[in-house]
């Protein structure tokens, strides 16, 4: 499971950690994040992320 970086603010989504504050369980791959999930740091959409 790869990490993804937000192109706008630099936040890195780590699938191992998930995004529990926003209801995303640890172990969730980026591809399985809900389509309306946004960057917890800056609010950017999934399309603003790239694989690192």
């Amino acid at each position: 499971m790869g990490k993804y970086r937000c192109l706008l603010c630099g936040y890195i989504y780590n699938p191992k950690a998930g995004d529990p504050d926003n209801g995303v369980e640890p172990g969730t791959p980026f591809s399985e994040l809900p389509e309306d999930w946004t960057c917890p740091e800056c609010g950017a959409g999934k399309d603003e992320f790239e694989a690192v």
Partner: protein, 395 residues
């Protein structure tokens, strides 16, 4: 500058900073203003404050209209200290006032300022009714900080856009109709290039969102208020966000003993003869603010550096670091320069250009000590081919 009524019961109460020339590294050749606005109704709202140290002036402007103690809401559209630096001074006068901000705005303000402020958090779609003035809030994250927020008055068709559509431009006139439009658009472009360019995709999304709003007046937090010329700034933002380029080539370089300079001149002359618009920008006399502005609508950037202590010249490295952060799109890059013995700077510059998202064009051109005829031939060829390419690309 005195307070001024910009619409019935809505006042500009900010501070015009004629003197500032360095705004966190941005060269503000024409100064700036920190625009705060006051809305007087059954409830009184202040939209943003000013930079630390300028609060006395803000409070004097407010007091010309109404007793500052009567402020009920302080709307913080943007956390950056040039707008929030004097919120505490306003709260000292009006301790009952509620600070209104986005969720990220609240977090940022709490980290910047130790006071135990009374917050009200606003999401997109939330509103506050002051009486005759309804304030609607639109979160605009990363335009240009995570906390950024617009405040919109539907009845008055008035948008408080914080840093978006701003300009670092100190003037005695508060409106677009009172200043030289060429200077205003140039300062708006410089502002966009240096503060907002790297967020182009967010700008496009926000402009689409804003199409549903009826807007007659745009009140940014720096510079003049857009009224008659509002469509001009909106369409300029659209073009800038799409990185619409002119057939323009920038030749940006530094030089120690004129060799890289000679290469730059030959590339520029050939590109010019081939019909491109060319700007030659030597790094010891051009600041990064100007360079970013030129990059915004350039189609290609050729960068030249001599090798100094096995590296690029520090001026070139600084420019390339800044360029990387600007995240420009759709531009061509080229690298050239001279060296004495081991070399390396040209390859480093090419790598930085690639990392900055430019598509490399042609081969890197290096020469030892002085450019010989073969080197100059390569430089001429690069200039000519680059010109042909940018003319084709921008048709």
């Amino acid at each position: 500058m005195n307070h001024i009524e910009i619409a019935p019961n809505i006042y500009w109460v900010g501070y015009v900073d004629w003197d500032v020339r360095n705004f966190h590294g941005y060269r503000t050749q024409r100064g700036t203003s920190y625009n705060a606005y006051l809305i007087v109704d059954e409830k009184v709202a202040l939209i943003d404050a000013v930079k630390l140290g300028k609060g006395r002036c803000l409070l004097e402007h407010v007091a010309e209209v109404i007793d500052p103690k009567k402020i009920d809401y302080i709307i913080s559209n943007h956390t950056e200290p040039d707008h929030s630096g004097e919120i505490q001074k306003v709260l000292d006068q009006a301790p009952q006032a509620v600070v209104v901000a986005s969720e990220k705005g609240k977090i940022g303000l709490q980290k910047y300022y130790p006071g135990n402020w009374n917050f009200q958090v606003m999401k997109t779609g939330d509103s506050i009714n002051l009486g005759k003035h309804l304030l609607q809030f639109i979160n605009t994250p990363m335009l240009h900080w995570p906390d950024s927020m617009f405040t919109y008055l539907p009845a008055q068709k008035l948008l408080f856009s914080m840093d978006a559509f701003g300009q670092h431009y100190a003037t005695s006139g508060r409106f677009d109709t009172q200043v030289d439009m060429d200077v205003l658009m140039a300062e708006a472009k410089t502002y966009y290039a240096n503060i907002i360019m790297h967020l182009g995709s967010i700008v496009s999304k926000t402009l689409k969102q804003a199409q549903s709003l009826e807007i007659e007046t745009i009140c940014p937090s720096h510079g003049v208020i857009w009224t008659e010329h509002r469509s001009r700034i909106l369409s300029a933002y659209q073009g800038w966000a799409e990185f619409r380029a002119r057939p323009k080539i920038l030749v940006i370089y530094d030089s120690m003993w004129h060799s890289t300079e000679q290469m730059a001149d030959v590339i520029a002359d050939a590109a010019c003869v081939a019909g491109a618009e060319v700007k030659v920008l030597k790094l010891d006399v051009n600041d990064l603010t100007t360079l970013a502005t030129e990059v915004l609508d350039a189609a290609a950037v050729a960068v030249g550096s001599p090798t100094l202590n096995s590296n690029m010249m520090p001026t070139v490295a600084a420019f390339l670091t800044y360029l990387k952060g600007l995240k420009s799109k759709g531009k061509l890059g080229a690298a050239f320069g001279s060296y004495g013995w081991s070399g390396g700077a040209v390859e480093q510059a090419a790598e930085c250009l690639q990392q900055a998202g430019l598509e490399m064009f042609g081969e890197n051109i290096s020469c030892q000590y002085r450019p010989d005829e073969e080197t100059l031939r390569k430089c001429r060829l690069l200039g000519t081919q680059l010109a042909e390419q940018v003319i084709k690309k921008t048709k």
